[in-house]
Structure formats: C-alpha cells, structure tokens
C-alpha cells in the first residue's frame, strides 16, 4: 500500500512538515486515505506499534474473563464482548489498532477517489476459509449486502446509511394512504465486483471513514454458506476455530494452522463468563484462574495493581457515560429544559467525586478530545442562575421532578448518575434514580425517557455522532432529529481537509451543546488487565481483544 493515490496525502505531508497538523492527525487521516501505516509512521518519524513481535513463546492456553453471550447473529451484535469471540474465528476487512490507526485486514489495500465517493478494496489473495476455498470479492459483497439489508437489523446500516442506502417507495400504502418505503442500496452498482479479488464501493455521498466503518464490530466476514448464522462448525478465515460454546459459561477456541496473518501463538483461548459482578473477576484473576479480564471496572483497578502478577493496561478513550433524554417527549422536547440540565452541571466536580484520574472532563457534545476530528470550543461552564431562568421560562418555575434510569454495572455509571442528581438539585431539578439490573437495562436502554448509559470508544467523532444522533438510526436512543445536524454530519463525513472538517465539527459540537439531547459529564479511561506471563498484551480502546497477538509464557 505504498501508493499515494489520493491527492490530499501530499497536502497532509506538507502540513505535518510545516507543523500545521500534529502527528496523530496526520497518521489517522493519511491512513484512511490509503497510505500504509508503515509509510505514515515512517514519515511521521515515530515507531510503528504494529510491528511484528519477535521471540514470542508458542503454545499454552490463554483464559480471559468476559461475558459469553449468544453468538447466533454476529451481524446484529450490540456488545463488544460477543464480537470478541467471533473475531478470533472470522476476520474483518480492516483492523483499527489500539493507536486508532486503521490498517489492512482481509483487504490488503484500498484506494479512494479524490471526491471520497469511490472506494476500491483489494482483497488479499492468500486468504483461505478454514474448510477450504479462497476468500474472494464475492464473499465481501455477500457480507456487505447482508449487513446493509434492513431485515438483518445490523447497526452497520446506521453507519453506512448516509452514503450507501436510499429509501424507495413501494406499491403498498400505509394507514394514511402514503406509499410505504423500503431501504436498500442506493444504486444497483453500489457494491461492484471489479474482479475476483477487487470490490468497489460506489457511494452516493462522500465519506472519509469507510475503512473504520468496515471494522465496526458487527462486520466480521462470515461464510455466505452459513447464511449469517454463527455456531460451532461455522467457517471462518480467522486464526482460531470455535470448538466449544456454552452461553453464560465459556467459549473455547483452538488455534488454526496456516493462518494468513499474525500468530496465533497460543494453542487455545478460553473466554470464561464470570458474570457482571466485578468481585468474581477479581477473585479469579487473583487466584490465577484467568489470565486476563476483558473490561475491568475502575473500582477494581487499585486492587488489581496490588497483585504482583498483574499488568494493568489503560487507554484514554472517546468512550463516555452519557445521560440522555428522549428528545421528543415532554418536558425534554423543550430545548430550555435540556439546556438547564446541562448548565446545572460542573463537569470538573463530577469528575473529582467519581472517576478522578480514570477519566477527563466532558463537554456535552460526545466528540472526544483525543480524536482527530475534535474541535475545541470555549469551556462549557456551569451557570446555575441561567439554568433556573431557562426552567422558569419553560414553565417550570418551581423546578421539575424526574426519574433517571441507569444500570447497576459498570459501577461508575450509577456513581456518575448520583453525582449529576446532586448537582441538578441546585437548580430545582429533583431526580429520582432508578438503578436497574444491568441485563434488564440493556434490554430497554433505548426505551426509557431519561436514562444513562456508557458509549464505547469509536476512532472518529463522526462515527459516534452518526451512530447515536443521526435521525432514524436504530442506536439513536435519544430519538434526536435535527435536519441541520444531519446535514452538517454528512458534510463532515465527506470533508477530507482537516481544517474544514474541524470547522464543521465545531458547528456540530455547538449544536449538541445548544440543542442536543445529552448531558455528558466525563470521558472514560478504559482498563484491561493481563497476567504478566501474557506477552504482547495491550488494552484496545474499543474493548477489543485480538488473541492471535498474545502469547503465554510457560
């Protein structure tokens, strides 16, 4: 992938050389445009963290504590833990690393047209399905069609809707006599097979983040013969084979011979389900029943650091706990109420009493400060008087009585909610907290009128905004719908020039702070722990685990 086919790459290089952009911005954008990570890191003058690790021990068993959910429909996953099992057996087209740089996966390189509308994906020629047969362009097209089919119910549809999908009227009528609409690929040639190992995405709108979208966790490449279902015996291109699955208990994977990529170094990987409660996870790790924990509660970090065999890895992320309202329901459909909920909050104090050094201050717009498309706005300050005034103007001079729902785990979420509730009291917003069992809340998280939930890290702000706040998306839990926001989001997605994109992002962030449906007090750090005998371990900001990169010392 040495080609510098996109005309903006030389601009990026000169901007970096002149100090107009930093290395992170250069690395992230140039690799999305098709420059290889190796070349990008070399030009930026920093070591490439994805280099092959020498002298990794071979063999052994790696045991990781993680929830083991039903894996029947990978393209419909809404939990990273489920995808962490399937990703060991079924690769992705691209791989976004812990450094947030996207590298080739099952496609060895990609090219994008200057207008960001035509993406050419070159499929690797040495990849074979475990049961035989080459991985080809047909497999890519089948998988992309499957995730983009509304009947599948994949969140990939939300990510790619703006540039791959259109709504078409059908002959059927709804109750009001209007034609019913269906969503499908905007053009018959939208997914084009160029040859046996080349696929072209012909998009209806410009989109910069296509390689990162291809790594969205429900987008693992399944064998078409499996029809979108995953079970014991399902075919895959990945480094492991699933040999045992007991939902709620464990998943066992055995290393595959002749894997095309890095590793695998261990013979078997076991994901062990110890439940949601962090206590058993700590006890199992302390007694070395597991070699790692996929995602640890911040409460456990000090205890884990005290264990002599523990190596705790942390990542600053763009993941966050977000309190959100249903934008279309009273009293939240009044912008002044939403503003009052934000103005009542002193984010620094919330951070100080809850996450401390396990997070950073939020700005109520859900675009992480570590992301290249983040635009810095003036600090959002608490303003009690203005919040009270807005409430009075909205017809609530005596304040409001509300109920916020949240889940029990991770434990920082109810803690954050409690801190928010205390600050809302100052403006007369009296909020009752409804802490629900985690599994129950996960079932209805989009349904509660006023709720709090953690959003995982995504490598670009436009990805989070597109998933969570674009009108009509399945994960738009706040039911936010703002045509101007949608228009600006599409514009940002199609703007390659960093300065111009940041200018659009600034507008989006301002809309979120002014009109948006969320109160976002903090950003989360993410922690994973591994036994020191596990080599090659690291924490991925999106809570992903790629076991082919890990080895276990005897």
């Amino acid at each position: 992938m040495s080609s510098e086919s996109h005309p903006y790459i030389p601009v990026l290089r000169s901007n970096l050389a002149e100090g107009k952009i930093d290395r992170r911005e250069f690395l992230r954008t140039s690799t999305l445009l098709g420059l290889s990570a190796t070349a990008a890191y070399a030009f930026a003058g920093v070591p490439n963290p994805a280099r092959a690790q020498a002298n990794m021990p071979k063999g052994g068993r790696l045991r990781i504590s993680m929830r083991v959910y039903d894996l029947k429909s990978p393209h419909r996953f809404n939990a990273t833990s489920a995808s962490n099992i399937v990703r060991q057996t079924n690769d992705f087209l691209t791989v976004t690393g812990a450094d947030n740089v996207t590298r080739p996966g099952l496609i060895e390189k990609w090219e994008v047209s200057p207008d960001l509308k035509t993406w050419t994906l070159h499929v690797r020629k040495n990849v074979k399905w475990r049961k035989g047969g080459d991985f080809t362009a047909d497999d890519v097209i089948w998988n992309l069609k499957h995730v983009l089919d509304p009947a599948t119910g994949s969140s990939m549809l939300g990510l790619m809707r703006s540039y791959m999908i259109s709504e078409f009227e059908t002959a059927e009528k709804d109750d009001k006599g209007n034609p019913k609409k269906v969503s499908r690929l905007w053009d018959a040639n939208a997914l084009q097979k160029v040859d046996s190992h080349t696929v072209r995405l012909n998009c209806k709108a410009a989109q910069l983040a296509v390689p990162e979208h291809l790594f969205h966790y429900p987008n693992s490449m399944l064998h078409p013969a499996d029809g979108g279902e995953y079970k014991l015996g399902s075919d895959g291109t990945g480094p492991f084979e699933l040999v045992e699955l007991e939902v709620g208990k464990k998943a066992v994977l055995r290393a595959r011979q002749g894997y095309w990529g890095k590793g695998p170094y261990v013979d078997t990987v076991e994901f062990i389900d110890l439940g949601d409660d962090p206590g058993p996870q700590l006890a199992a790790f302390a007694s070395r029943q597991v070699d790692g924990i996929q995602l640890i509660s911040t409460d456990l970090v000090p205890s884990l650091r005290n264990l002599p065999h523990a190596a705790v890895y942390e990542q600053t992320t763009a993941g966050a706990g977000v309190a959100r309202v249903h934008y279309d329901k009273p009293p939240f459909n009044d912008k002044r109420v939403r503003q009052a909920l934000r103005l009542a909050i002193d984010c620094q104090k919330i951070l100080d009493v809850t996450m401390r050094d396990a997070g950073s201050v939020g700005e109520h717009h859900h675009v992480g400060p570590t992301l290249p498309d983040y635009a810095k706005l003036p600090p959002y300050k608490q303003d009690i008087a203005k919040a009270k005034q807005l409430l009075a103007e909205a017809g609530h001079p005596n304040g409001l009585d509300l109920t916020i729902s949240c889940r029990k785990e991770p434990s920082q979420e109810p803690q954050l909610v409690q801190a928010l509730v205390e600050q809302w009291k100052a403006v007369g917003i009296r909020v009752t907290v409804n802490i629900m069992p985690t599994a129950e809340y996960n079932r209805i998280w989009t349904e509660v009128p006023f709720g709090f939930i953690g959003w995982a890290h995504r490598p670009l702000g436009i990805m989070t905004l597109g998933l969570a706040y674009r009108s009509g998306q399945s994960w738009n839990e706040s039911r936010y719908s703002n045509p101007e926001f949608d228009r600006l989001l599409s514009e940002a997605e199609g703007t390659v020039d960093l300065e111009k994109r940041k200018a659009v992002m600034a507008k989006l962030e301002a809309i979120m702070q002014d009109d948006g449906p969320i109160i976002q007090p903090v950003w989360n750090k993410m922690y994973q722990v591994f036994d020191k005998k596990v080599k090659g371990a690291y924490a991925h900001p999106s809570q992903l685990v790629m076991c082919n990169e890990f080895a276990v010392e005897a």
Binding site: D70, G153, V247, K249, I272, L274, L282, S287, R443, I444
Partner: protein, 310 residues
C-alpha cells in the same frame, strides 16, 4: 402408608396445577409482551405478529393453556432466548450443578451439626455446651454475603490456598467447591445444631429415657437407640426445608463464586426476561418445594409412627 403417599401425590399435582395457572396468567396472557420477550426489543411489529401466529398465540386462552401444559408435561420446555439452547438442557445442567453443591453441603452439614447438637444437648450447661452454643451463634450471625467475602479474603487473597471462583470450567473440582460449601454450611450449621440440641434436651428429659437409664442400659445405647431417633424429627424437617433454600436461596453464594447453579439461572432468566426459561425454572422450583415437603411429611410418619396426617 400407601394412602398417605397417594394423598401427598394428589396434593403435589393439585399444587402444581394451581402454580401453572398462576404462571400462565402472569407470563402468557399478554401475547404482545411474550413476543417482545421472545424476539427482543429490536424486533419489528410485523415479526412479532408473525411469531405470535406461528406459535398459536391467536388461539383462545384456555386452548393455549392446555397446549402449554401439554408441552410442559412432555418435556418440551421451548428454547431459551439468552442461552440459545433448549430450556430442558440448560435446566438439567444447572440442576445437576446445584445437586452437586447440595450433596457436598448436606454431606458436610448433617454430620457436623448433628454431632455438635447432640454433644451440646447431652452435656447441657457445661463448658462444652456453651462453647458450641457460642460457635453456633457466631456462625449463624454471619450471612453468606459476608462470609463469602471473609472466606475469599482469607483463603484467596491472603493465604493463596483456594481458587477464587467455582465455575468448574475444567470439569469437576473439589477445591472449587470448598468455599461455597463452607459459606453455606457455616450459615446453616448453627441453626441445625441448636435445633438438634433443643430437641435432644427435650427428649433426654422424657420418662422413657429416665426409665432406660434406671434399668441400667448403658448410656451410649440410651443415646443412640432411644434418644437420637426421636430427637432427629425436628432437625430432619429443617434439613428437608433446606433443599428449597439450596434450590433458589443461595443466589448470593452462587454469584459470588461464579458457580453456575440453579439459583443464578433463575436470576439470569429473570433479569433478561427469558420467558420460557423463567417459566421452567419457576415450575421446577414449585415441584421441588412441594416434593420435598411431601417427602418430609412421609418421612415424618416413618420416624414417628404416632404422627398421622388427616
């Protein structure tokens, strides 16, 4: 005796039918919510209607009840949405795990608590009795949610002697059973021992014991042959009731040690609203509760022929 057994069987069936009616009313009378539970919150209205039609939910309620009951009786418990497996399989696995836990629990509890209770009872008022009583009060005062933490702190984090969880990931492991069984036994031991002690004191004061002693029967024979059988009636009932407690009441211990038993299954089924699994768990719990109660009643009449249930 056969009449008693027959009567208890009729009682068992009647109780289960009543429970099944309540269950059906609670879970199945609202087909819409059944469809949501079965297909998940992201299912479309069209999918829900299709599912309801395919599964006969547009039939009258009484037809659905008898169909549901018929399937249940023949072991067709449906599919678990969360586990993506037949409910019967999940249920058998988890009941087996709880059975193992119960076996080791009773194998530890019964000899220790009865021995302590008998010793305390026949040595009433002595230092030994008081020491046993103090021990029993202390252990019974520590509920499992506290004793689990205490045991874990000592044996996992300080002494590094025992595994921290009991998931039996690599198959049966006696070492993994030690802490959950200990936590349960500690909580219950004092209760059964105190009950045995009181019963023993009561029996030892009876005239027939005094007569046996005055006749010159050796003291150990008096205890073992004459006193113990009568003294065990009350503890036996308590122990039988513990079967129910072990089935559903040890959720805290199962969760703390990540033991995959029936208690944690009920909790998971409830939290995730896995309808068919929840129905099966509830019915199983009812069966076990009624069956153990009936067994206790029958055994009662065996232990004490003077007792007859009218």
């Amino acid at each position: 005796m056969p009449r008693i057994v027959f009567r208890r069987l009729v009682y068992l069936i009647a109780t289960m039918l009543a429970a099944s009616l309540i269950l059906f009313g609670l879970f199945e009378l609202s087909p819409e919510s059944v469809a949501v539970d079965a297909l998940g919150q992201f299912s479309t209205q069209e999918q829900r209607m299709l599912w309801l039609e395919q599964n006969g939910y547009f039939e009258p309620a009484y037809v659905r009840y008898f169909a549901w009951l018929g399937k249940f009786v023949t072991g067709d418990l449906g599919m678990s949405r969360v586990f993506n497996a037949p409910v019967a399989k999940v249920l058998v696995d988890r009941l087996s795990a709880t059975g193992i836990l119960a076996l080791f629990f009773f194998a530890t509890l019964i000899p220790i608590s009865l021995t302590l209770g008998v010793i305390a009872g026949i040595q009433r008022g002595t230092l030994v009795d008081r020491a046993i009583t103090l021990f029993c009060v202390i252990t019974t005062s520590i509920p499992p949610f506290a004793s689990t933490v205490l045991l874990s702190t000592i044996f996992v984090f300080s002494l590094h002697l025992l595994p921290g969880t009991s998931g039996m990931i690599d198959g049966f492991s006696f070492r993994e059973l030690i802490m959950p069984v200990t936590a349960l036994v500690l909580y219950d031991l004092g209760y059964v021992a105190r009950m045995t002690r009181a019963s023993m004191i009561d029996v030892m004061a009876r005239p027939y014991i005094r007569t046996a002693v005055l006749k010159g029967v050796p003291y150990p024979v008096v205890i073992l042959r004459h006193a113990l059988r009568n003294a065990l009636i009350a503890p036996f009932t308590v122990i039988m009731l513990h079967v129910n407690w072990l089935i559903g009441g040890v959720i805290v211990v199962e969760l703390f040690f990540a033991y995959k038993g029936f208690g944690s299954l009920i909790l998971e089924a409830t939290l995730s609203r896995d309808l068919f699994l929840l129905e099966a768990c509830t019915m199983t719990a009812v069966v076990i509760a009624v069956a153990t109660q009936s067994l206790a009643d029958i055994a009662y009449t065996f232990l004490n022929p003077r007792i007859r249930f009218k």
